[in-house]
Symmetry: C2
C-alpha cells in the first residue's frame, strides 16, 4: 500500500497510527506503518524523554512520529491558576454532586491526578517539542489550529514533515497556508475532536481544497475495506486512532474500560463537550449524559472544561466507576470486539485492503492482476 507520501516517509504501508502508548506506536512502525506517539499527557519532559528513548530502541530503525497539541493562539502570562479562577462555583458544585451521586471515592492524599489539561498550554507543548527534536522524528502532528510558523520551520530544519488535523475544507486550507506538509481530514465519525462533516464527504473535499498537499483520511477507519474506501476518496494514506485502544500493547489502565470498549456498538459514542469544552467523540456514559443534559449547567469553553473535570476524570478512572467510565473513541468502536496484538491487527488491515481491491476490480470488470 504505497503512495507518494508513504515513499517520502520511507514506510511500507500508508497507515498512520496515532496512540498515547509508546508500545503501540513502536509496534505500528515495526509492522510497516508510521506509529505516532501522542505527547499531550506528558507534562514532565523527562517522562517523554524516557518513552522516546524506549521508542528509539524498539522501532528497529523504522520511522515514527510525535503528536503535540500546540495552541494556535498564544495568551501571554496566563497561568493555570488564572484559568482555574475563571471556573464558576456552580460548575464545581455540579462536578462534586455528580461524583457523589455515583459514589466516586476521593483520591488518596498525595495521589496525583493523572489526567491534566496542562499539556495543551503553550509552554508545556514547547517543552515537549524541545524533547521531541532530540529524536529523529519523521512526522510532527498536531490538532486544534495551525502550528505556529516557528514550529513549522523548526520541524522542517529537523527533516520532519508537519501534519495537522482539520474537520472542514476551510480549516484545511488555513493549515496549507501555514506551510504544513500533510492534512489529516478528521471526519464526524472519528474519536476525539471532530466537526460535523462525515469522512465520505470530508475526505475528497479536503483533498480538492489543499491539492497538491497530501491528505490522510481519518474517522471511521478500522478495517482494510475502510482503508480502501479512504484511499478511493483521494487520500494518500489513512490515520487510525481508536482501533489501537483494544490492542494487547495498549495500557488503558482499566480492565473495566477495555471491557466497555469491547462491548460497545457503533451507536454507543457521542460527540460531547464534556471532556475539553470542544465537541469530541467519546463513549457515551452517565458522565457525558450529565454534561449534555439541558437541565444541568452545561459545559464551559476550552480550556476551562478540561481543567474543571481533570481530577474527576482521574478519580473515575482510578476507581473504575463503570457508569461514568469513558474515553475518546470513534464510531469504529463497534468493530473493536477482541483484544489482539498490534501486528495481528495491522496484518488484518493490509489483507482486508487487498481483498477490497480484488472486489473493486471484479465490479469494474478488470481482470485479476
Amino acid at each position: 500500500m504505497e503512495t507518494e507520501l508513504s515513499r517520502q516517509l520511507g514506510i511500507e504501508h500508508a497507515i498512520f497510527g496515532f496512540t498515547p502508548f509508546p508500545a503501540v506506536a513502536a509496534a505500528i512502525s515495526r509492522a510497516g506503518g508510521l506509529g505516532v506517539l501522542g505527547a499531550v499527557r506528558y507534562t514532565a519532559p523527562d517522562d517523554l524523554k524516557r518513552d522516546l528513548d524506549w521508542m528509539q530502541e524498539h522501532t528497529d530503525g523504522r520511522p515514527y512520529g510525535v503528536d503535540v497539541v500546540m495552541p494556535a493562539k498564544k495568551v501571554e502570562g496566563v497561568t493555570e491558576a488564572d484559568v482555574e479562577a475563571m471556573i464558576p462555583e456552580e460548575h464545581r458544585r455540579f462536578v462534586t454532586d455528580t461524583l457523589a451521586r455515583h459514589g466516586v471515592p476521593e483520591l488518596a492524599d498525595g495521589e496525583a491526578s493523572g489526567w491534566r489539561i496542562t499539556g495543551w498550554m503553550e509552554q508545556v507543548a514547547r517543552n515537549q517539542l524541545d524533547v521531541a527534536f532530540d529524536y529523529p522524528v519523521a512526522l510532527l502532528a498536531g490538532a486544534l489550529g495551525s502550528p505556529p510558523a516557528d514550529v513549522v520551520a523548526r520541524a522542517h530544519d529537523h527533516g520532519a514533515l508537519v501534519a495537522a488535523l482539520a474537520g472542514s475544507a476551510k480549516h484545511a486550507r488555513r493549515h496549507a497556508e501555514a506551510g504544513i506538509d500533510v492534512v489529516v481530514a478528521q471526519g464526524y465519525e472519528a474519536g476525539g475532536h471532530t466537526g460535523d462533516i462525515a469522512s465520505m464527504v470530508l475526505t475528497p473535499e479536503v483533498v480538492d481544497a489543499v491539492a497538491p498537499v497530501p491528505v490522510l483520511a481519518a474517522g471511521g477507519i478500522g478495517s482494510g475495506e475502510q482503508i480502501a474506501a479512504g484511499l478511493a476518496l483521494g487520500a494518500q494514506g489513512v490515520w487510525l486512532g481508536s482501533l489501537w485502544l483494544t490492542t494487547t500493547e495498549a495500557s488503558l489502565g482499566s480492565r473495566a474500560l477495555t471491557g466497555k470498549l469491547l462491548a460497545a456498538g457503533s451507536g454507543d459514542t457521542v460527540r460531547s463537550r464534556a471532556l475539553t469544552g470542544k465537541p469530541a467523540r467519546q463513549l457515551r456514559t452517565a458522565w457525558t449524559d450529565a454534561w449534555d443534559d439541558p437541565a444541568g449547567p452545561g459545559t464551559l469553553p476550552m480550556p476551562l472544561q478540561g481543567l474543571l473535570v481533570a481530577e474527576a476524570v482521574s478519580r473515575i478512572q482510578r476507581y473504575e466507576v463503570e457508569p461514568l467510565l469513558g474515553t475518546p473513541v470513534g464510531q469504529i468502536v463497534g468493530r473493536m470486539n477482541s483484544e489482539r496484538g498490534v501486528r495481528e491487527v495491522f496484518d488484518d488491515l493490509t489483507r482486508g485492503f487487498e481483498r477490497a481491491v480484488d472486489r473493486i476490480n471484479r465490479i469494474a470488470g478488470r481482470s485479476a492482476s
Copy 2:
C-alpha cells in the same frame, strides 16, 4: 460497474437514483442505472398513473423502480382530522408567528397546499401500490420501518425486488427478517431521514449484519470516487438522492431554491425534526433554526409535525421566501455546484469510478489491466 444485484436487475451500472421527478428517474434508467420514482407526493392515484405512463414511454424498456413510504404500524380508523386535532394550539401559533415574522403571504383562495404528509398514511400508500403494480416495476423501495408481509409477498408475485432503508444494523436485521431483498444503508451524511452512524462505519456493519442480502450504500455519495468507496465497503451498489436535485431534468419549482442548493457548502445542512418530526437532513434555514431553538416550543412527533407544517412549507415554497426556503438534502450538497443534465452527471460518475479504480490499483501495486 457490475454486481450480482445489478445483473439480477438487468442494469448496466449498480447506481440507484432516488428522485421525486419522473423525468429524472427515466433519465437515470436510460443512462444505465436504476431510476426510482418517489411516490410520497402523489396523493391522487391518477397523478401517479399519469407519471408512470410517462415513465413507461421514456425509459426505452429499461427497468425502473418506485419508492412508497409505507407506515409499518397500522392505526385502524384514524383519519387526518383525528391527527389534526392532536396538534397543540401553542405549536399552531408558533407556525403563524414565524411565517408572519418573515412576511410569508397566505395562499390564494382555492390554491391547494402542494406539500402534504398524507402520502405517509397507510391508505394513501396502499393506493399508490395498487397503481404501481400495474407497471413492470423492478424494485419497490421504502423508508420508515419494514414493509408489511402482504406487500412484500405482492411485490415478489409481481417479480419486483423489495428494498428498505436502514440507519443501523439492528434496523437492517429487522428488514432482512421481514423478507426484503435489498437493504439501503442510509448514513448520517445522507439527505432525508437518517440515523447517527456515518456511511464509512454503517455500510460494512450493515453488510455483515444482513449477509447474504445485498446492501446499497447511501449517504455522502455524489462522485465516482465516493461510489468506489461505497463498493469497497462491501455494498453491491450505491443509492443517490441529493445529487439529482440540481439536474436540468429536476423540477424543484423554485429558482431560488435551486440557487440555494448550488451555493450551499457541505456544512450548510442540519439533521432536524422540523419537517416530519423525525431527524431528517435538510438545508439549514431560518425555518429549521426556529424549530431547533431551545427557546421555541420544539417539534411534535411524526406524523403531527408534518401535518402541522405542511401548509407553511407550501407557502414558503410558493412565495420563495428565501431565508425559510429549504429541502431535504445530504452533505454532498457541497459538491452540487452546477446545473447539468442527468446523462452528463451519470457519465461523470462512471468515469470517476474508473479513475478511482486506477488509483487504488496503483496504490496496491497492481499492474494496469
